[in-house]
Structures are given as C-alpha cells and as structure tokens.
C-alpha cells in the first residue's frame, strides 16, 4: 500500500477549496470531483466507488454547505467540489426489494400493490424528486405506478441509476427505485413485444440455415477472407463516401 500524506497545502498553483469529509477539514484542488477529492485527501475507497462515471449509483452523496440550511445530494463521481461542503457518502441503502416470478405477473395495478403495497402511502410531498441526482420526477412515476400506467412509469424512471437516495428521504417509506424496476419490467415484457423478425431469425438459426454459410466462411484462408471483407461487403444502411 502506498504511503500517503494528507495534502493540506497547495503544492503548486492549483486553486484549493476547503471541504469537510465526515466532519474533518481538508484542502483539495477545486477542479476535482467529490470522489477524486476524497482520494486526494488520503482515503482509499471501498464503499462509495463503482463505475466512477455516473451509471452505477454507488457514490450517492449527501451534503450541506456552510451558511446554507439546505440538504443537497449528488453522485460523487459527477460533481465538482465546492468551498465549504460538508460531505457524507452513503455506503449502502437499506430498501427491501420484493421477490417475484416475472413469468406469472400481469401488467396490472394489482401486481404493483401486491408486491409494493406501500406505493399507496405516497404523500405527494415530492421529496424524492428533489433528492434525485438524475433529476428524475420520482413522485410522478410512483403515482403512475400506483395507477397502473406502467408505460409512463417506465419512461419517467428510465434513467434511474438506483442510488437509493429517494428511498432514504421518503416519509412514506417507499423503495421508489425498486418500484420503478418492476414497472419497467412489466412494461418491457408485456407492452413492448419483440417484432416477428426476431422470432423468425431465431428459428432460422435453430434450424441450422446458416450452418453451410458458416462452414464456408470459416474454412476460407485469410487472404480470401481479407478480400471478402475489404472488397465484397456491401453497406446498405450507411452513407459511405
């Protein structure tokens, strides 16, 4: 393990800001994301760092700023540090996910109420939407789910990275992001049927229709294959000069 010292002084011309990690003060370069600033301060992350690119929801962060009563939230990997941030990383979100067998479910409101009866407790306070680092209208999709409008619930919730901040803030104790998952799967399975061309192609493959073609292609010497690739491929969809 590399030995590191806490960086409390600017070592070059980098502009520094003062932040608080779990209550302790650190000076870090102002250009860093919250995640990189925590590492700069000397922490080796295990919790709270996953994809580091805004897709996995591991780095949900709650913070306040000096002189500001509001609670802010962010993904640590997608947010630049600011002077006076009081940061806390969410290591884990306790939120029960219902277990279900998709094969047996109907895309009806009763399904949602059976697995997540708590959606009916929504107070319409909209705290969930305000806390969402993806700026999703969480309350709207909870309401759509409660009404069985899974198409709308799916569309509104689609960009959810499942960080769980909504579930932590909800006074009605709804695990919104799990609700959204069920809504999307019901919609994706029942309302967005695959086109017939897919089934047809699967059958052709299973019937071995391409086996001859594969045998021929796979037995070609490299120079023949190369010629086929560079000179015989046709591009029917793309504009080529």
């Amino acid at each position: 393990m590399a030995k590191t010292e806490l960086k409390t002084k600017a070592e070059n011309k980098t502009q520094m800001v003062k932040i608080y990690i779990m209550g302790s003060m650190y000076e870090v370069p102002s250009s860093l994301t919250i995640m990189k600033a925590i590492e700069y301060a000397g922490f080796k992350l295990t919790r709270g760092s996953g994809c580091r690119a805004g897709f996995c929801g591991a780095c949900a962060t709650v913070y306040r700023k000096e002189g500001d009563f509001r609670i802010y939230t962010a993904l640590a990997c997608q947010t630049q540090v600011e002077e006076g941030m009081y940061l806390a990383q969410m290591p884990f979100v306790p939120a029960n996910k219902a277990k279900y067998d998709m094969e047996t479910l109907d895309p009806i409101v009763g399904t949602m109420l059976q697995y997540y009866p708590e959606v009916a407790r929504c107070l319409s306070c909209n705290a969930c939407s305000r806390v969402c680092p993806q700026e999703i209208q969480v309350m709207d999709y909870v309401q759509y789910s409660l009404q069985g409008q899974f198409d709308k619930a799916a569309a509104v919730s689609f960009d959810c990275v499942q960080c769980g901040l909504c579930a932590i803030r909800c006074p009605a104790e709804i695990p919104q992001y799990h609700v959204a998952m069920l809504a999307r799967r019901l919609h994706g399975k029942h309302n967005m049927k695959a086109p017939e061309t897919l089934e047809k192609r699967v059958k052709e493959i299973e019937d071995g229709e391409y086996e001859e073609g594969f045998k021929e292609l796979m037995s070609l010497p490299k120079d023949k294959l190369r010629h086929k690739y560079y000179h015989e491929r046709d591009f029917i969809d793309q504009k080529k000069a």
Binding site: M1, A2, T4, S31, L32, K36, Y40, F43, K44, T46, R47, S49, G50, C51, R52, A53, G54, F55, C56, Q78, K97, K99, D101, M102, A154, F158, D159, V161, Q162, M181, R184, R185, H187, G188, K189, M192, K193, A194, P195, T197, L198, R201, V202, I205, Y210, F214, L217, M218, K222, L225, R226, Y230, R233, D234, F235, I236, D237, Q238, K240, A241
Partner: protein, 553 residues
C-alpha cells in the same frame, strides 16, 4: 467560460458551426487497407514497442504484452499460502462464479435454468453486485435480426474488425447466439428502443456493414444489467459482495477446485470449494495501459487473469488493447470517461480545430482512435484545454440537424445529462474527445463452451481472449457477456451434474510454484498482485496525463 467552454475553445467551435451545413451531406471517405495499416502502425499504442514487453514466465512466456499487464503477471502473490487453513471450508458449492458483472450474472441465471439449485451456486464479487463495465456500456448490443442482415454478415464484420485474428468458433458463437439473447432479454422484460411500427431501433456501429445496434437510449448496459440483477435477487442466488477472489485453489491433478476470497472490509479470508468455477472478472482498464485514462469501473484490475495464469491457464491476444476513440477530454472532471460511439452511430463526425473532418466517423475502433491520436500528436489541428489536454471535436449538434430537434436529449440522455452538469449543452455545442483505455481484447483462452485450458475452470466475458481477435467492434461486448455468460452457465450445469468427478485435496501448491518461477527471474522491482483496487491517492495519477502526447509521437 461561455456556456461551459473557455474562450479559446469557443473560437474553434465557431469553425465547427461554420462547416456544419456543408458537412451535412459530406462524409469523409473510409480508409483503404493500406491507409489503415499506416495509421495503426504509427499511432496505435498496440503497435508501439515502448509500451510493451515479452512476458517472462508461464504458459505464455514470450508473448509481447502491455507493460502494465506484464507488471501484474510478473508479480508475487499477495496471499502467503502458509497463512491459509484449507482444512476449514467456508463455502462448499457446485458452481462458483467469480465476478458479478454481465457475464457472471448471466452465467448464474443459466446455470439455475439448467438445473443447478440456487443454493449450490455462489457469486463472489470484489465490490457490489453490478460494479462492472456492463452497467457502463452505453451505445448498444449487436444482433443480426433484420431480414436484410444475417449472422454471416455479422461474422464477417467481426472477423475483419479483429484483423482476422479471432478464434473462428468463438466469433461464430457470438453472432449466431445474438438474436437468441435479444429474445431472452425481451422475455425478461428489458426495454429496447422500438420504432412506432414495433421494429427495433437499430443503429450503425464502427466497422459494421448493417445497422444492427439494439439500444436503450444510451443506457443500454445499465438496462441490461439492472434486469439481470433484479432476476438474480428474485431467484435468491447467493452473492458475496466486497469479497474479491485472490487465488484459485487446485488439487493434486491441477484441477481448479475453488478459490480464496478476501473480504476487503473485515480483512478475513474465506475458503470456497467448488465443483466448477467460472471466471468472469472482466478487464484491465484500471491498469492504465500506456498511461491512458480509462472508461472502466473501479475494480477492473485484471485479477482474474493473474489468478488463472498462476494456476496455469493459457492466455490469448493480450497483445491487443482497445482504446475507445472518444473519451471525454473536457471538462477535466470527466477526463477519460466514455462518450458513446452512438454519437457517431447517429451521424456525429470527428473534427479538428479548423472544423473539418479528420476521418470517416465509423471506422473500426482501433483505426478511428489511431486517426484521432495522429491528429493530436502529429499535427497542430487539435484543440487545447486550459489544463493542457488535447482533443478533437465530436459534432453532436449535427445529430439535431440529421435526426430532428430534440434527438440528442432523447437518444443520448446520459451524455446530455453528464455534460449538462458542467454547463455544456451537447445538442448545441460539440464535445471535446480524445481516445481512452476501454477494453481488454484478449484474455483467458477458452472454447465455444467456455472451457479454459484448465480442468474445472470456465471463463466468459471481457476476461476471455479470442472472441474479438485484435480489435472489438462496438456492441459486441454487451453481446459477449450475455452469449458466453449463458454458455458458461449451461456448461457449468452439465459439469455440476456429472457423476464421478473427483476433486482431490484443496491446495495452493501452484501459488508456491509460481513463487519459485518468479524467484528465478531475479526481478529488480518486487510487485504483488492481484491488485484488487487501483491506487489513486498520489500526484502521479494526474501527472501521468501530461505525458500522454509525448509518448504518442
């Protein structure tokens, strides 16, 4: 700063705006075979001898691979075999899956489907279920399911894109299973984008001759993974999190019979005995090959390769690394993060400082990346950021002209949101990009049923070698994790049910032997591996970026 960009960059954006109308109908021609060769040889890090060396020991001794990968292979184990009590078994399972990404979860679901009871499966993972590259894949997944396409055409695209160095049977499995995978995904309830007539939205990809990129906006990998994860939890398949495998276990015959897990939070070791082990630990982006930033998740440190190699597994195609042509070069906070190829699938072009096209936007990835490096390293037609990064423009506003107003936000909502956080509106302004380390083209050698060269060990996903040859095409990695994850699960179920397979005494003898081989090398620098997590607590991390261009020339 003016709408997210400093003034000097704005000047170049004016050039981009000026040429846009002309470029609407003009696409620069793709390169000939000879031109491709020239740009790869001169500018792709794979072809630059200073980034590589010959591996000094083991089954692939002599293979010319990236220095950073050789560093973790030519390294002493972190575990001292004498410290582990192998007589006490913590988990005794039928199918052990190391790695909980797309391949690992697919494998678990298919092993279950083919008859392995859930409580006889164990998924072990370094971080959380789903801290993986799958969840970060944006652009799409290839499947030749339109009437004007076929698995044979897909095959030729794959083989040519891989410089004819793919293992043909693996390439066939990849393309031939693709429609089946999409069908499975639809049964699970995944939401692939569809046109109003019910057909799938299918886009172009670099090096593909048909539009066959299925997508869920630019959250394709996330949509696939969160459904797989939901299903793993529904089926009550046991998952051990924050517990990376640190060594495999072998018996007297060399058969793989389990692993040692290390809980990175409680700092305890756990012994797992398994009838069959599937290695799905993903790639090596966090080794920062050739000094590049990476698109990969935090745990992508080649651990699986290291462990399997110590146990004697043969590797393949590790000489080849994929640099994604378009990583973010600005703002600094997003440096190296993926700007999906879908931007180019939808019509986005790559432009120099002068606003003119640098190359055909949909070359295979290695060719496209090399063309961009060439522009930044050997011409002055690049854009410089305030921190000294160089990049070229990816003209996303062109998509609004080609596909209609609002299409950027609709089809690229992740990219739009990411840049919006830094006050950049990619529907109005282009994105500054430079190649970034993206994908491990090679890895553990296996056959089409995922058998590695070692008894008891299967491999699937990014850790595998041979599927993509020397270069992977867009949309074939989401496909790969599902195709070979599924095949590994099916094979594992078959192995699980086999009667009379004897596994002998659990041992770490192969680790002791590897130490002897390493001693014989008399290495000056003593390193240890697997790395488990990269080290980001030093100045060196940021200094590395400045060297990027010097090294590219």
């Amino acid at each position: 700063m003016i709408r997210g960009y400093p003034e000097n960059m704005r000047k170049s954006i004016e050039n981009v705006n000026k040429t846009r109308a002309k470029r609407l109908t003009e696409t620069k021609a793709d390169l000939t075979e000879a031109e491709r060769k020239e740009v790869l040889n001169n500018y792709h890090p794979d072809y630059n001898p200073k980034f590589k060396r010959d591996l000094a020991w083991g089954p692939n001794k002599g293979d010319n691979i990236p220095n950073e990968v050789a560093d973790v292979i030519e390294a002493y184990p972190v575990v001292n075999p004498d410290d582990i009590d192998l007589s006490k078994i913590d988990y005794d399972v039928g199918v052990l899956i190391i790695g909980a990404g797309g391949a690992g979860t697919s494998a678990a679901l298919w092993a279950l489907k083919k008859g392995v009871p859930a409580d006889k499966i164990l998924i072990a993972t370094k971080l959380r279920l789903g801290d993986c590259n799958t969840v970060m894949a944006q652009g799409g997944i290839q499947a030749a399911d339109r009437p004007e396409d076929s698995p044979l055409i897909h095959y030729l695209d794959v083989i040519g894109g891989g410089h004819f160095d793919n293992k043909p049977k693996l390439a066939k499995a990849l393309v031939n299973d693709a429609p089946k995978i999409i069908k499975w995904h639809k049964e699970l309830g995944m939401m692939y984008d569809q046109n109003p007539d019910g057909s799938f939205v299918e886009n172009a990809g670099g090096g593909t001759s048909r539009n066959r990129m299925h997508c869920s906006k630019d959250y394709t990998g996330m949509e696939i993974f969160r459904v797989l994860k939901d299903e793993v939890i529904n089926k009550e398949i046991p998952v051990v999190e924050f517990s990376p495998a640190v060594e495999l276990l072998t018996d007297e015959t060399g058969r793989i019979v389990g692993t040692i897990l290390y809980n990175i939070e409680t700092k305890q070791y756990f012994v797992v005995k398994a009838k069959v082990t599937i290695m799905t630990t993903g790639g090596f982006g966090r080794l920062h090959v050739a000094g590049f930033p990476t698109t990969n998740h935090y745990g992508a440190t080649a651990d699986g390769i290291v462990m399997a190699y110590r146990a004697g597994a043969k590797l393949r195609n590790l000489e080849s690394t994929q640099f994604h042509p378009t990583g973010a070069a600005f703002p600094e906070q997003m440096l190296g993060l993926l700007i999906t190829e879908k931007v180019r699938s939808l019509g986005g072009q790559v432009l120099g400082y002068d606003g003119e096209q640098i190359c055909y936007p949909l070359e295979p990835r290695d060719v496209e990346a090399s063309s961009l490096i060439k522009c930044c390293a050997s011409t002055d037609n690049y854009v410089e950021t305030p921190t000294g990064m160089r990049g070229v423009w990816l003209d996303s506003p062109l998509i609004e002209e080609l596909k209609g107003k609002g299409s950027v936000e609709k089809n690229l909502s992740a990219m739009y949101r990411m840049m919006q956080r830094f006050d950049i509106d990619i529907s109005k302004d282009p994105i500054l990009v430079y190649p970034t380390l993206h994908y491990q083209n090679g890895g553990i050698l296996h056959d089409e049923n995922c058998y590695s060269s070692l008894k008891g060990l299967l491999a699937a996903g990014e850790i595998s070698g041979g599927v993509h040859g020397k270069n992977r095409l867009m949309g074939n990695s989401l496909l790969e994790v599902n195709v070979f994850g599924r095949r590994a699960g099916i094979t594992a179920a078959k192995e699980y049910k086999k009667k009379g397979v004897k596994s002998g005494k659990l041992s770490l003898d192969h680790v002791k032997k590897s130490v002897e081989s390493l001693d014989a090398l008399k290495m000056k620098e003593i390193r240890h591996s697997p790395m488990i997590l990269p080290e980001y607590r030093s100045e060196a991390v940021r200094d590395r970026l400045v060297k990027l261009y010097e090294d590219s020339c």
